[in-house]
């Protein structure tokens, strides 16, 4: 079966949808079923709330997450109470949210569950470690790409990207968007030494000099840089943005004409348009990340929540050619 064996090369995997309704949950359920057939001990957690019975935006039917006997999962106290399976609680704790404390449990009789998981990257890393400690061979994160989420799914070793007709009704636009994101996922990683120095910085823009020393620029947020771009480059051309990066910062750096190397935590912190990024690169700029997940597959959902459908075969071929990797229609491979 395609790509499922690749997952086993990694201890953690996230499934990230480019938009809502790109088939992320279908993909997750497919993987869970396949791994169960292979007797792999899996653990599942998520970012934010997922596995809702109906989609909050379009109210279309949304598949639930099905877990099998022996697997572990983490969800909030509230959603634990609503589970449709029999499970044994092994631990509680961590960061309490509006939905109660996170609960780690082992499935005794398989069934369906609502996942509501980590709100921050730190909490997510803790949950992945907890699942590993519980003996899970692979920890799967039901991810999300959102400006609103502080937790980044890119902390997992491997990633599956779910795209689909929900991204755009036009195939060329869909291919363009997906190729752009695919490029960002593949951004080069910084050296281990530099990664160690930068990974615990939580906010602001920092300079990295030629010796790899990190200097504070006294800029708390990218929104505060104003016209100080030159001032930002006083230690050299390499900068590190600890938070989200918007078009505005890239535009300012592109305008400096200095060929700035900008380091971000991971691709999920980039909220930039294709045009701005292209302009930034054209002016000699480059992007690097602290962590790059290994992309093990791209999946495609031909159905859009508005009701139209793209030709699955044609779209998968177009995407596959553009990305240079196989693209799977999860509904098709399920059959």
């Amino acid at each position: 079966m395609p790509f499922v064996a690749d997952i086993l090369q990694h201890r953690s995997l996230s499934i990230v949808g480019m938009e809502k309704n790109t088939g992320k949950t279908v993909c997750l359920n497919y993987i869970l079923r396949r791994l169960n057939d292979m007797h792999v001990h899996v653990g599942v957690t998520s970012i934010g709330v997922d596995g809702e019975q109906t989609d909050a935006v379009f109210a279309t039917a949304k598949p639930e997450i099905t877990l099998y006997r022996g697997s572990h999962f983490i969800t909030s106290e509230k959603h634990y109470a609503a589970r449709q399976l029999v499970s044994e609680i092994e631990a509680t704790g961590g960061v309490r949210t509006a939905l109660g404390v996170p609960v780690l449990a082992k499935v005794l009789v398989g069934g369906k569950v609502l996942l509501s998981g980590a709100a921050t990257t730190r909490a997510l890393l803790g949950q992945i470690a907890l699942l590993s400690d519980a003996g899970c061979q692979v920890a799967i994160v039901d991810g999300a790409l959102s400006r609103l989420s502080l937790a980044s799914p890119a902390v997992t070793e491997a990633m599956i990207l779910a795209t689909g007709a929900a991204v755009s009704s036009s195939l060329p636009t869909l291919v363009g968007h997906t190729r752009f994101l695919y490029g960002l996922i593949g951004l080069p990683e910084v050296s281990e030494a530099l990664k160690e120095r930068l990974e615990n910085i939580e906010s602001g823009i920092w300079a990295v000099d030629k010796e790899g020393e990190v200097h504070s620029l006294g800029v708390a947020s990218v929104f505060l840089i104003g016209d100080q771009t030159r001032e930002l480059l006083r230690y050299g051309r390499t900068l590190f943005a600890a938070g989200a990066v918007s078009d505005r910062l890239l535009q300012a750096l592109a305008a400096s004409q200095e060929g700035v190397e900008l380091i971000v935590k991971d691709f999920t912190r980039l909220f930039v348009s294709r045009q701005t990024y292209a302009e930034f690169v054209k002016r000699g700029g480059g992007l690097q990340v602290l962590r790059r997940p290994q992309l093990v597959a791209v999946t495609f959902n031909p159905f859009s929540p508005q009701g139209f459908m793209l030709d699955s075969k044609q779209a998968c071929t177009a995407l596959s050619e553009a990305l240079g990797v196989p693209v799977y229609d999860v509904k098709q491979i399920e059959r």
Partner: protein
């Protein structure tokens, strides 16, 4: 008053609490809920327990029981609301029942560890084995929990049936109905369990609070060890030998600067403290405040030796209280604050610390105000320490002076960063009552504007000449 309110007023106490290494949020919460005590017996008992904890750290921190206790405290969850629900007869969810079982599990382990450390007399934990037995019907001995099959004769077979349906991927309504039936039975079991557990609720609360206290006590003992704190003795007069300000001391150590502890004693009534600018008068008052608050909150003192009276409270006026929002100037804010302090100190025996009162008004009236303040404090049962730059105050009270600048200073060696190397912060009895007049010298040593200093010197000489 509780520590959580006091740390808003005193940075030193906040620094102490922030520096404590708690194993659990419950321990931290316990610290914040700790009261400022005025009862000698209660404080003596707390210091005795702290001494025992310090001794335990010294002798047993590498022992297995100690490691076990730390491990238990790390796993302690603050489940007060769950326990309150249990006591009130509110039905608990499965997750809450897990938390109760987890508490009983670690309480039992902590109890054994505390016994192994010979600390049972100061940290007695109630026996929660009854709780654990109820929640561990299969005698698994682990703290995992669910509504076990053995709780109800039908559960096992129903679940087996459900499992069979899952294997066949039969998502028909049959499975949903079966699941509802299982849920109904689970609910019944929960109700029965909660009824059975209710009798243990007060012991469970005691256990939770006692483990939180153990965490607080051990964190306090670690602080004693790390900071070199001294066990205080209750006495009628305040006497702090080798007093230090932990925050400043650690800062100086970090930047490689010297830190000088000081000795200070003060009895009921007023003590006036003079000293040059930058001689550490404000820091001295803040250090005394932190020491007194720590001691009366059950900590050891940041000093080599501490004899302390137990005051009804501590009142302090330091710094510029100017607040544009309430329309009060620096002077007005200060006078309002001092009035409050005097009112308090008339009611009960207080420790009163006032830094340079009336410094922002004209010197003639300012001096009169300070004299009046000292006179009132001198008559009071409270212990008041008042710093000032005013010379020739007509009061008869105890006077101390910060020794201040050592002679033979060379201006080239001085900077705001190095200045503390040239100051002797120790206190001496001041017999003549004249405040040091070193403001111009210090400004010159700091390399301030030469013209300003030169003209000021000329004016100063002229005024001295006129006075003669």
């Amino acid at each position: 008053m509780k520590i959580k309110e006091l740390i808003k007023q005193d940075e030193g106490l906040r620094y102490a609490v922030d520096s404590m290494e708690f194993m659990s949020s419950a321990g931290h919460r316990y610290a914040l809920e700790t009261n400022f005590e005025t009862d000698a017996e209660g404080l003596e008992a707390e210091w005795r327990r702290t001494s025992r904890a310090v001794a335990c750290l010294e002798c047993s921190s590498e022992s297995q029981p100690f490691k076990d206790l730390m491990h238990c405290l790390m796993q302690l969850h603050d489940v007060r609301s769950t326990l309150a629900s249990l006591a009130a007869g509110i039905e608990l969810s499965e997750v809450e029942l897990f938390e109760v079982k987890h508490l009983a599990f670690i309480s039992d382990k902590a109890r054994t560890a505390i016994g192994g450390l010979d600390l049972t007399d100061i940290l007695p934990l109630p026996d929660l084995s009854g709780v654990f037995s109820l929640l561990d019907p299969d005698h698994s001995g682990v703290d995992h929990f669910y509504i076990y099959d053995s709780y109800h004769p039908r559960l096992a077979s129903l679940r087996q049936q459900l499992n069979g349906m899952q294997d066949k991927e039969d998502a028909a309504s049959g499975a949903a109905e079966l699941f509802d039936e299982i849920r109904r039975i689970e609910q019944q079991v929960c109700t029965t369990l909660c009824d059975g557990l209710k009798q243990y609720s007060s012991n469970a609360i005691k256990s939770m609070e006692q483990m939180a206290y153990a965490d607080f006590l051990l964190a306090k003992a670690r602080l004693c060890e790390q900071w070199g704190l001294a066990r205080p003795v209750v006495g009628s007069q305040l006497s702090l030998e080798g007093l230090f300000n932990p925050r400043l001391k650690h800062h100086n150590e970090q930047v490689g600067a010297r830190y000088q502890p000081v000795d200070i004693a003060a009895c009921a009534g007023a003590t006036l403290i003079t000293g040059a600018n930058m001689a550490g008068k404000t820091v001295l008052l803040k250090s005394i405040a932190t020491a007194q608050l720590m001691v009366q909150c059950g900590f050891f003192a940041p000093a080599a030796k501490a004899v302390v009276p137990l005051f009804g409270g501590l009142e302090m006026s330091v710094g510029d209280g100017q607040n544009e929002m309430n329309g009060l100037s620096s002077y007005a804010s200060e006078m309002v604050r001092i009035s409050q302090i005097l009112e308090q100190s008339r009611r009960q025996r207080m420790l009163v610390l006032i830094d340079e009162p009336a410094r922002t008004t004209n010197p003639v009236e300012g001096k009169a105000l300070v004299e009046a303040l000292v006179e009132i404090c001198q008559r009071s049962e409270s212990t008041a320490l008042i710093t000032t730059h005013y010379s020739g105050l007509g009061n008869h009270c105890r006077r101390l002076r910060v020794k201040g600048f050592r002679e033979g200073l060379s201006a080239s060696r001085l900077s705001p960063m190095t200045i503390n190397q040239f100051i002797d912060y120790s206190l001496e009895e001041d017999l003549d009552g004249d405040a040091p007049q070193e403001a111009l010298r210090i400004a010159a040593l700091l390399g301030c504007d030469a013209e300003l200093i030169e003209i000021a010197k000329q004016k100063y000489q002229q005024s001295k000449h006129t006075q003669l």
